[in-house]
Symmetry: C2
Subunit: 388 residues, 2 copies
């Protein structure tokens, strides 16, 4: 009986999570010592239910569709696991002769990955476990950036650029666009790349790393509307005030849970109520992480590479690591993958450093734009306009 490999997805999908799956499976297929290439159906829960998908027989042309498939093609989950479940998981691996396990996910999933690694170590099981980084929010530690972020960044930058051009042609006084990232502002910040010299960029950017002050926001908007007839604001879904409370008042309560309205609608309503200007809020929400149409080519390639490298390494016996990226140069862009100990990235949440946020707390710095620019995978669409 030969050896088997297992791939597990954890947490929310990104536009390139399946590109890493493609990289891992394509690499695994090159190894005749592997009998089965398994995927846990719908995350760790599926593994615990012993629901495994067999991927070794899938023809390469169908595998290639993974490169443009959003969501998780093998399913994923957000299960919180207890030690007892890690032990059961280890037993299942042993029973199925699974010697190699790849976890594709963010901080939470790296925690799961690390705990399974520790469980196997403690019990003396000969199982190698590796992490593949994946998060649209870009909040994994140590790595320069994570697969999933570049595509989410391209989505918001291109979308904001398009809306800015729309507003320029027919001003609505204020348009507020809500961006993903509850605690880390990386995606919200990436909207700054919309402006690449043609004047179509956001006017104000509010990040969750800074307390949101309603009066300062209203002043910012008012000051800009004295010069321009239409402005575009990008705001993080996770904005909180100085006391750490969500800026949106609670909308309703069901049982113990409190539900809040959308940040974009709230900020637009503030402009209408306090300034009397026309305003509207937009919230693309899940569209931003699911958009394969706006994948960053750099992001997709790195996602494939991370999956392939994790697979190759684990088959060489590397254990308890995660693939990370180190930036060699920004212009021209060059990054290389390396390995970090899994316990260095378990549950840590990386937010934006101060040098990437402007002093007023309503925009980003040139240093951020420089860092972020290569990750979106090439220039945005060039536009022209003559009405200003």
């Amino acid at each position: 009986m030969g050896e088997n490999i297992l791939i597990v997805h954890g947490g929310g999908p990104t536009a390139v999570i399946n590109a890493s799956l493609y990289g891992a499976v394509t690499e695994a297929k090159k190894h005749p010592e592997l009998d089965h290439i398994y995927a846990a159906k719908n995350g760790t829960g599926g593994l615990l239910r012993e629901e495994l998908l067999e991927l070794s027989e899938i023809p390469q042309e169908e595998l290639a569709l993974l490169l443009q498939t959003p969501g998780s093609a093998i399913g994923t989950s957000r299960d919180q696991l207890e030690q007892e479940e890690y032990d059961r998981m280890a037993d299942i691996l042993k029973k199925k002769n699974i010697r190699y396990v790849l976890f594709n996910g963010g901080n939470g999933t790296m925690d799961t990955c690390g705990k399974l690694y520790q469980t196997c170590q403690r019990r003396g099981f000969d199982v190698c476990v590796m992490g593949i980084p994946k998060t649209m929010d870009n909040d994994i530690a140590i790595t320069d950036h994570s697969p999933g972020f570049g595509s989410a960044a391209r989505y918001i930058a291109q979308s904001v650029k398009e809306v800015c051009a729309d507003v320029r042609g027919l001003p609505i006084h204020v348009v507020v666009i809500e961006a993903s990232g509850r605690n880390a502002g990386w995606i919200t910040a990436a909207s700054a790349l919309a402006e690449d010299g043609d004047g179509n960029g956001p006017d104000l950017i509010y990040l969750p790393e800074r307390p949101f002050d309603e009066d300062r926001y209203i002043e910012d908007v008012k000051r800009l509307l004295e010069k321009k007839s239409g402005i575009v604001v990008v705001a993080s879904e996770g904005l909180r005030d100085a006391e750490g409370k969500p800026v949106v008042p609670p909308v309703f309560q069901v049982g113990r849970a409190t539900y809040f309205g959308d940040v974009s609608a709230h900020l637009a309503n503030l402009v209408i109520k306090r300034l009397g200007y026309k305003a509207r809020g937009e919230k693309p929400g899940l569209l931003g992480r699911a958009s394969v149409t706006m994948q960053s080519a750099v992001d997709r390639e790195e996602a494939v590479l991370a999956g392939a490298m994790a697979c190759a390494e684990v088959l060489k016996g590397t254990n308890g690591k995660m693939v990370a990226f180190r930036r060699i140069s920004t212009e021209p862009y060059k990054a290389e993958p390396f390995l970090v100990d899994i316990d260095e990235v378990m549950m840590y949440e990386r937010t934006m450093p101060d040098e990437y946020i402007n002093e007023a707390g309503n925009g980003v710095t040139e240093a951020f734009k420089e860092w972020c620019r290569p990750l979106i995978g090439g220039e945005l669409q060039k536009m022209t306009a003559w009405n200003q």
Copy 2:
């Protein structure tokens, strides 16, 4: 002194409004009898202020950028005009020796176009006026469809497909996506094209052509959640109840104006409150009409053609008409432009016919999908998944 032509944009932009501008200017540049190719800067208001842009000197490679520029590159407006202003407009045309005028817009703009035509006729001015159809909402009469709709349709179909794949990989019980079109459900309905045989399509579609019944909606959702762990609902921004009142309760009042919340957030909240299921609402809003990334190639080509034909016709002396499209065949798709009298399309608003809406009022018919499919300009991205 030679003759001059003027192009005016009216109403909200679409993803291909500038493609029609490209078609018109490119055609106009072929006519040496024209001294100036003018554009009204920011719509009819700009014309009345005599703010004209000169487009004849713009090099062809910059003009080509119009094909991928959202918004209106020459600006547009929503001005309601009085007869006195039509007379002033006619005087300005005479003064500038503008003998040809093209209006690119929707129902409201065709009304403006028609009134200027009538004014020039009445006063015996030798000015030829023509309309170029443009509306993402597809609500112009007589024409099979209007430039702008195909791209908005492709945007919603592709976005909904991507979100369906996302929800399939990690179920959130209910995701509600709000689509544009306050009175006409064409765009909302086009989301049905997300499903092209791979199971990634919306589960429920609510159109403004049918009164929205909250209880029936909750029953629809409940019934589907007995079979599936995640469903996707697409709802028009303009949903009204049987009495014609907006389904979203008013959020606040400023002066005489009442502000309503978003339909998507409201429908998601209803699911949480009445069924206790997790739900979220997304509202891409302006992103849908500004997305050049998801332009339909068919739509863009027809937009160019409509602009070019309007220009060629007006220069031949055709007057008081709008370019429309007649469908010759659906498979293979073939449509041809023809001319309609401008007074047949002034202010009329075309909604979806009964045969395109299913009996339950929560989806569309095969006949609609067949009609709509060629307009989105080719297949959506192929995807794969193995978790169900």
